[in-house]
C-alpha cells in the first residue's frame, strides 16, 4: 500500500479526469530460442499437438473479442485471428517441428520467415509485420503458460498503463471501460495520443516514473495537468471526476460561434482530409475548414488523377461547408508520406528532404494541375477566391511563385509556416500572400531539431517550448501589422489552454481535429481577450515548456 498521495508527472495530451484501478499492458514474452534443444522423434507429434492447441486458443480468443466489438475493431481482430490459423504458417511451423523444433521455437521461426519476406517487400506489406509479431507473442505466451500479452480486456473501468501503445493495441479500446491512458514513452503526436484524442479518453504520455505503479493501485489521472496520482483520497477523487464529467457535458453542448468572453471573434475550424471526413466534421460546431490535407485523397491512387477527377474530390469538401471558410493545402507528399504517382527520391533524412512545395522542383506540372483542379472545384461550387496554401515554404521566392500561380486562377494564396525561416521572415512572406497558417507539429520539429515521431524526444517536440511560442509570436505580429490573417492548424490548437495563449499572441483562427472544436470553443468563451494577452505575455517570459504550461494554467483556468 502506498499511504501518501504521489503524483507522477508527464505530458497531458487529452484533457479529462479518470479515477480507477490501474492495469498494465502485459509485456511481450521473452522469446525462447530453444534451438539448442532438439525434440526426440517420439515426442515430435506431441509438440505439434501443443502448438495446434495454443494457436487455436489464441485464435478463438481473438474471434471472441471480434464478436464483442464492431466496425473497424472487429475487422482488425478477425483478420488477426485468421492470420494465426493461416495454412501457410501451419505448414512452415509443421515442417520445423517435424525436424525436431520445439513448439515455441517453431512459432518464432515460422513467423520470422514471413517477417523477413514482408520486410523485404516493404510498403503496405511491411505493416503486417506488427500483426505477425503480435500473433507470435500471443502464441508463445500461451505455450509458456504466461498471461496473454497486450491490452487487457477489463470487465470494470481501469486506467490503462503502458510503455507505449502500438496501433494493434488500440483497435479495441473502449472509452466506457478505459477511463484513462498513461504511457511512459510517446509524445503529443504519438499514436497513443492521436487514438486517445479520437476516443476522448483522458491521456498522459511521457510519464517516465510510471513503472513503480503496481497493477490494481487506485489512480487519479488528470489529462489536462498531465499527472497520474496514486493514493489520492477516494472521496475527493470521485468528486473531481464528477465535476469533470459535468465539464465534459458542457463541452458537448457548445455550439459556437467561437469568441472570447468579451466577444472577440475567433474562428474555430476543423482539419479534414477528404469528403467523408468533411461531412463528419460538419456535424461538429466548426465554423469551416482551416486545413484540408489533399494528399490523403491520393494515397491509393496509382496514377495522378485528372484535373476533373481532382475537382470532384475537392468539391466534396467545399460542398460540406457551403458559404464557410475552407483552406485547401496543396500536396504535402514526401518520401516519408509517399503518394504513388509522385516519384520520391531515396532519402536519408526525409523530413528535411524533397516534400511539400519542393516536389515542384522535379515536376512543376503537378502543382499547376492541382491548382487547376482546385479552381475548377471552386467554380463548380460557386466559391469566389478559394483559399489555397502551400506546405513547406522556406523562401520568399517560393511564396511569390506560388502566389502568382494561384492569382492566375483567381485563387487566394497563403502559406504554411512550418519551416522556422517562414516565421522569422513572416513580414516579407505576408507581402506576397494573403494569409498564413502555422503548422505547429512541423514548426516544433524543425525548431527543436527533434523528430516528432521519436517517442523518446517527446519533451522536445512540445508546442509549449518557449522557442516555438516566440516564433509563433513573430508570425502573429507580422499578421497584425499587415492586417492579414494568421492562424494555427496543428495539434497545438486542439489544446484548450494553449488555444487561449495563441489567441493572446494575436492569431485569428484555430484549426484542429473536429472533435476538439467544442472543448476549445468552450474554453475561449471562459476568458477575455485581455486575459489571453496577459497569459501570452507571461508565457513568453518562461524559459521551459513545463513552466509555460503551468503559468498558463494558473492565469487562465
Amino acid at each position: 500500500m502506498i499511504d501518501t498521495a504521489t503524483a507522477i508527472t508527464g505530458t497531458g495530451v487529452v484533457a479529462g479526469l479518470g479515477y480507477a484501478p490501474v492495469q498494465w499492458v502485459k509485456p511481450a514474452p521473452i522469446l525462447p530460442l530453444g534451438h539448442d534443444r532438439l525434440v526426440g522423434e517420439a515426442l515430435r507429434d506431441a509438440e505439434v499437438t501443443r502448438w495446434k492447441a495454443a494457436v487455436e486458443t489464441v485464435a478463438s480468443r481473438l474471434t471472441l473479442r471480434a464478436a464483442t466489438n464492431s466496425g473497424a475493431a472487429a475487422e482488425v481482430l478477425g483478420a488477426t485471428a485468421a492470420l494465426a490459423t493461416d495454412r501457410g504458417l501451419q505448414r512452415a511451423a509443421g515442417k520445423l517441428m517435424a525436424a525436431g523444433s520445439t513448439a515455441e521455437a517453431a512459432t518464432v521461426d515460422s513467423i520470422a520467415q514471413f517477417i523477413v519476406k514482408f520486410e523485404k517487400l516493404g510498403g503496405l506489406m511491411a505493416e503486417r509485420v506488427t500483426d505477425l509479431g503480435d500473433i507470435r507473442n500471443r502464441v508463445v505466451s500461451e505455450l509458456l503458460g504466461l498471461p496473454e500479452p497486450g491490452v487487457p480486456t477489463p470487465v470494470a473501468p481501469i486506467i490503462l498503463l503502458a510503455e507505449d501503445l502500438a496501433p494493434a493495441d488500440t483497435a479495441t479500446l473502449d472509452p466506457a471501460l478505459i477511463h484513462g491512458i498513461a504511457t511512459r514513452l510517446g509524445g503529443p503526436t504519438s499514436h497513443t495520443a492521436i487514438i486517445a484524442r479520437q476516443l476522448g479518453i483522458p491521456c498522459v504520455v511521457a510519464a517516465t516514473d510510471l513503472q513503480d505503479v503496481p497493477d490494481g493501485a487506485m489512480a487519479l489521472i488528470d489529462g489536462a495537468a498531465g499527472t497520474v496520482e496514486v493514493g489520492a483520497d477516494p472521496e475527493q477523487a470521485e468528486a473531481k471526476v464528477q465535476a469533470d464529467a459535468a465539464r465534459r457535458a458542457a463541452v458537448q453542448s457548445w455550439k459556437g460561434p467561437g469568441r472570447t468572453q468579451d466577444g472577440t471573434a475567433v474562428e474555430v475550424l476543423a482539419n479534414v482530409q477528404d469528403g467523408a471526413g468533411a461531412r463528419a466534421a460538419a456535424k461538429y460546431p466548426a465554423a469551416g475548414v482551416g486545413l484540408f490535407r489533399t494528399e490523403l485523397c491520393f494515397l491509393s491512387a496509382a496514377h495522378e488523377p485528372s484535373v476533373a477527377e481532382q475537382a470532384s474530390i475537392y468539391s466534396e469538401v467545399l460542398a460540406a461547408f457551403p458559404g464557410q471558410k475552407v483552406v485547401i493545402r496543396t500536396l504535402d507528399a514526401g518520401s516519408d508520406k509517399p503518394v504513388p504517382f509522385v516519384v520520391h527520391p531515396d532519402e536519408e533524412n526525409p523530413a528535411l528532404g524533397v516534400r511539400g512545395i519542393r516536389l515542384g522542383n522535379a515536376d512543376p506540372g503537378l502543382l499547376e494541375r492541382q491548382l487547376d483542379g482546385i479552381a475548377l472545384a471552386a467554380e463548380q461550387q460557386g466559391v469566389a477566391s478559394a483559399k489555397v496554401m502551400a506546405p513547406m515554404i522556406a523562401t520568399v521566392d517560393e511564396a511569390r511563385d506560388f502566389a502568382a500561380a494561384c492569382r492566375q486562377r483567381r485563387l487566394s494564396p497563403g502559406i504554411m509556416v512550418e519551416v522556422p525561416s517562414a516565421a522569422l521572415l513572416a513580414d516579407a512572406f505576408l507581402a506576397e500572400v494573403d494569409f498564413m497558417s502555422i503548422g505547429t507539429n512541423d514548426l516544433t520539429q524543425y525548431t527543436m531539431a527533434a523528430d516528432r515521431m521519436a517517442p523518446s524526444l517527446a519533451a522536445l517536440t512540445d508546442p509549449w517550448q518557449p522557442a516555438v511560442l516566440r516564433l509563433i509570436r513573430l508570425a502573429a505580429a507580422a499578421g497584425t501589422s499587415a492586417q492579414k490573417p494568421v492562424g494555427v492548424c496543428g495539434e497545438a490548437a486542439a489544446d484548450p489552454l494553449l488555444a487561449c495563449i495563441l489567441v493572446g499572441l494575436g492569431l485569428s483562427s484555430l484549426s484542429m481535429a473536429p472533435n476538439a472544436v467544442a472543448a476549445v470553443g468552450l474554453q475561449l468563451e471562459s476568458v477575455t481577450l485581455e486575459q489571453c494577452q496577459q497569459g501570452a505575455a507571461a508565457v513568453l517570459r518562461c524559459t521551459t515548456a513545463r513552466e509555460a504550461r503551468s503559468m498558463a494554467r494558473e492565469l487562465l483556468s
Partner: protein, 85 residues
C-alpha cells in the same frame, strides 16, 4: 490443369483484405489452387500469408492454376476485382 492470368484489380494490391478473401474462397475447394507471378515460385492460394508474399501490386499479372476449372475462374475473378472497397 487449367491456368488463367489476370491483372490485380485491388488498388492496395494483394494485401491484407484482398488476400484474406481470396484465401477463404480458395479454401472451399478440395483441389490445390496455386498462384504465381512471373519468375517466382508458386504459392498456395488457401494461405493469405503466402498470397501476400507474392507482393503483387495493383496492375500486376498473376497466374492461377488448378485441376478445377471452376476454382480457377472464381479465384481469377476475385483477383481482378477491387476487393478493398
Amino acid at each position: 490443369m487449367t491456368t488463367q492470368t489476370v491483372v490485380v484489380g485491388s488498388p492496395v494490391g494483394l494485401h491484407a483484405r484482398p488476400a484474406a478473401m481470396i484465401a477463404t474462397a480458395a479454401g472451399a475447394y478440395e483441389e490445390e489452387i496455386l498462384l504465381s507471378i512471373e519468375g517466382e515460385d508458386e504459392v498456395d492460394a488457401t494461405s493469405a500469408l503466402m498470397i501476400m508474399t507474392l507482393g503483387a501490386d495493383f496492375g500486376a499479372s498473376v497466374t492461377v492454376e488448378s485441376e478445377n476449372a471452376a476454382a480457377v475462374a472464381e479465384i481469377a475473378a476475385l483477383i481482378a476485382k477491387d476487393l478493398d472497397s
